[in-house]
């Protein structure tokens, strides 16, 4: 009973980083106790108690075990997130967690990994790639967004902004440094990197390289696209899901999905492609706070 982390800690925002026009990262001091040391893909509940009074789930986008820090990366899309964006370092937020199952990072050493992040979905992907890099994974990232200004966490020594892949990619492929991260940018409007959807970029990459594992986070429609794309391939893949959450402790049932009934907050938010097959509503609909189904 004591194992469940369901008490808030009220923490000062240590630092705020403007990532894009609409996305900011918030850094907090975080003691890495046994129960509290997060894994990439896990999330926290963020409680705002001044001005806007509400609480929402946010993926952990950064884990620094040396500095005892974690970060969340928030896109300003509504009332709650706009309020977060209005805060300054020193302001306080309530945090509880980490919750849920993170990405499986077993046996990642020397493996070829493709990590795909769409929009603010790059938050957990960024966390995952930094973590996996240290474990010796060889990672290619598809960093996707609508337009150049919205690219999140695309900056890297190996940022690959060419629209065409071939040469550049082959060169990188040859280098193959352990722990190297290649970032392949991709925008809907072609303002940076590949012009088009992350699905297309994925199809391209798969032509040149074989991957041992794929991890994905982004808009559900994008994830559904990737899922369909990979369906017939035998590459193990993991997807980070979102559903409306209330308790995040596995009790209210708000985040349960058809047809297995799994709770995104406990059995998820990360699911393997094998499990995701069982989530029939994936890419089709989700439920709002009243439980009403809403189509994608």
């Amino acid at each position: 009973m004591d194992k469940i982390i369901n008490n808030y800690e009220i923490l000062e925002i240590k630092e705020i980083i403007s990532e894009t026009n609409t996305i900011k990262t918030f850094i907090f001091d975080w003691e890495m106790n046994e129960d509290r040391t997060p894994l990439p893909g896990q999330f926290v509940m963020i409680w705002s108690f001044s001005k806007v009074f509400d609480e929402k789930p946010m993926s952990i986008s950064m884990i620094d075990k040396d500095k005892n820090e974690i970060g969340i990366t928030v896109k300003n899309i509504g009332n709650f997130t706009a309020n977060l964006h209005s805060l300054s370092a020193g302001d306080k937020l309530g945090i509880r967690g980490p919750y849920g199952n993170g990405f499986n990072t077993e046996n990642i050493k020397d493996k070829n990994i493709l990590a795909i992040g769409g929009g603010v979905g790059m938050a957990p992907i960024n966390c995952f790639t930094n973590y996996s890099k240290e474990l010796g994974g060889n990672i290619d990232i598809i960093c996707a967004s609508v337009t150049k200004d919205e690219l999140l966490f695309s900056n890297s020594d190996n940022e690959i902004n060419d629209n065409k892949l071939t040469d550049k990619f082959n060169k990188d492929k040859a280098t193959k440094n352990i722990g190297t991260v290649n970032v392949f940018t991709c925008t809907d409007d072609g303002t940076c990197g590949f012009e088009g959807y992350a699905t297309h970029r994925t199809t391209d990459l798969l032509k040149y390289k074989s991957y041992d594992m794929v991890v994905v986070c982004g808009p559900e429609i994008m994830m559904k696209g990737i899922f369909d794309l990979l369906k017939d391939k035998k590459i193990p893949a993991q997807y980070s899901m979102e559903r409306y959450m209330k308790c995040a402790m596995g009790i209210c049932g708000q985040c349960c999905v058809d047809k297995k009934g799994w709770r995104i907050c406990v059995e998820g938010p990360v699911f393997s492609n094998k499990d995701l097959k069982e989530i029939q509503e994936f890419g089709k609909y989700h439920r709002n706070a009243s439980g009403l189904k809403e189509k994608y």
Partner: protein
Amino acid sequence: MLKTEISGINFENPLILAAGVMGSNASSLNWILDSGAGGVVTKSFSQEPNLGYSNPTTVAVEGGILNAIGLSSPGVQNFKKELALINKSNKDGQKNIAIASIYGSNPDEFSNLVHNIENDVDMIELNVSCPHAMSGCGAAIGQDPDLTYEIVKTVKNASSNNIPILAKLTPNVTDLMEIAKSAEKAEADGLTLINSLGPGMKIDIDAKKPILSNKFGGMSGPAIKPIAIRWVYDAYENCDIPIIGVGGISNYKDVVEFIYAGAKATQIGTSIMYEGIEIFSKIKNDLKNFMQKNEFNSIDEMIGYSHKN
């Protein structure tokens, strides 16, 4: 061996999922039925859709949690579709029992709800006891013996197929037995005791504010068990209709305690948070072992045992 019966409805075992816990979705209800529950109660729903309160809606306290979900519900028309998806039997071929929990603010709403769903479920539980409902709903009814009588009576009359009606009552009253007797007089087929306690409040001393957006929330979990046991024990002595015990159950010992106090079946809610949904199969097993060790052949033999000298 574990079978129990409540007003003509036969449960494979006395472990039922409590209302409002993983009960908004036929999929999670089926999951829990497959995992060994003898029956499930849905999340309480109403005539019209309701978003409930905004977050935070739950908060941990010593021995349990406070919740002020605020009876969120997609409304009966939408929820009917979920009800239709609840499996008639579980993966082992045992009959599932589905209980719909409904709430409203007046007799009309209740009878409309009953008309709407009486053919979709096995029983109906009246939530006249939620301690954090909007005005006129929940405990506002169950704290008044006359209103309780009226609602139960209305619902009984509204049913065309005589579906069994359970009245779920609130402990947050001066004299719960007065309310229980009203429900019995109005011909409720059973009592579900108890809904969450309080409400209570938790103030975060760093934020300097009550944590729940609704400020107050009903308390559930192991800490409320003594209060629930007391009321089940009292109701067993004061009423003649079956009792379903609920409040703080986390293991087979708690289930036995409720049955000894007088419950014919029990419901389990908050402990799912600590124990996972495996709690149903675990308790089922442990309960069977306990009964064998204590030479009980049926749940019936155990009901109300602590009243026998």
